[in-house]
Amino acid sequence: MASSPPLLTPVEPPQLSPYPLQPTSSSPLASLYNRFASWRSSLGLSNPGTVENLTKEVKSTHLTNFFFDGARADLSKSLSVNPIFQVTHSFALGSQTSPPSYNFAAVFANDKVFLQGNVDHDGNVNGRLNQGWSQSNVSKVQGQLSSQVGHSMLQAEHDYLGQDYSVNVKAINPSPTDLTGIYIGSYLQSVTKNLALGFETLYQRPTPDMAESQTSYLAKYTGSDKNWIATAQLQPAGIVQATYWQKLSEKVEVAAELQLIAAPARRDAIATLGAKYDLRMSTFRAQLDSTGKVSALLEQRFAPAFSFMVSGEIDHFKNAAKVGVGVMIESPSMTPEEMGMMQMPVPPAP
């Protein structure tokens, strides 16, 4: 036995992850780190997702982010598929909440880079740039540029997705001269296969001699077969946000959200209940909340390049209603010959 290498163990399980540090380094700290890392990977925890996407499923089920009123038309042109290059002209008219507007948007995306920008008829530009450095590192910059003073905004952030944790740091309107601005750091760690816990700290420095920070705590519980997710978020000012999302079947998702404000000055709570149906040619969302609002949105796709949307909302407590209709027309840049037979099915001969 004396001739055999001392470090080699004959029954090493093959699924143990490779040591992050070279095992040849003899430092006790490195070996401790290696043992900790292999113990950690043996737990088999998965990445919990980013803090920003904590309630992503709920947001895509609820129609709060999709609702519109008045009339709108989106003419989008897909000029290239790989890399993605798309321009969109959007027109909106007759909304109760916003004036008529025209908006031009351009999107370019390949495997690493995502560039997006839109400009409205007043010349306000919104832009977004995502750069993926590797599988687990993504930097994002987004900005709002306006000719009006004080309406511009710049936000830079970096996401790191570890094996069983996610880290995000963010700076909003950082000033290089006096370091004012808003800085946010967040961390989310899988604790068990289902539960992830984390926190988000916001550090605010509106003027050089004034600074405050506050930390909110997050929890996310994912069902074992990933068809339901419950999240909770606690902010120190007494704001609690709890959500629940469940996928009932391939086509139906439901989500509930409860927002509680229990500050000394103000006590309030809003509950929202929503459902989303993904049908073959349409998507239907319905939502009910405790402020007395009932709303629905139907997106019906009549042809691959043409879809029609109709939305409505009734506020029973205020006795008000909103209605919206919209069309989305997508025109591919390629001629039908160029597209060949892969995209458009040939209509059956009469």
Binding site: S80, P83, V87, V125, P176
Partner: protein, 51 residues
């Protein structure tokens, strides 16, 4: 801490960068998309909503 002069220079540079981005961001995306996309689209299709 940087001196007042440096600070002023930084503020000026930030302001200039902001203006460049304001007017250049959309053209940049269109330029990048136009040169990299495959097949290359015609310019009129790019700009006009109806073509």
């Amino acid at each position: 801490m940087p001196s007042e002069e440096t600070k002023e220079r930084i503020i000026k540079a930030v302001e200039l960068g902001r203006t460049v981005l304001h007017y250049g961001w959309i053209p940049l995306i269109i330029y990048v998309g136009y040169t990299r996309s495959n097949p290359q689209p015609s310019l009129i299709k790019l700009i006009s909503p109806l073509a």
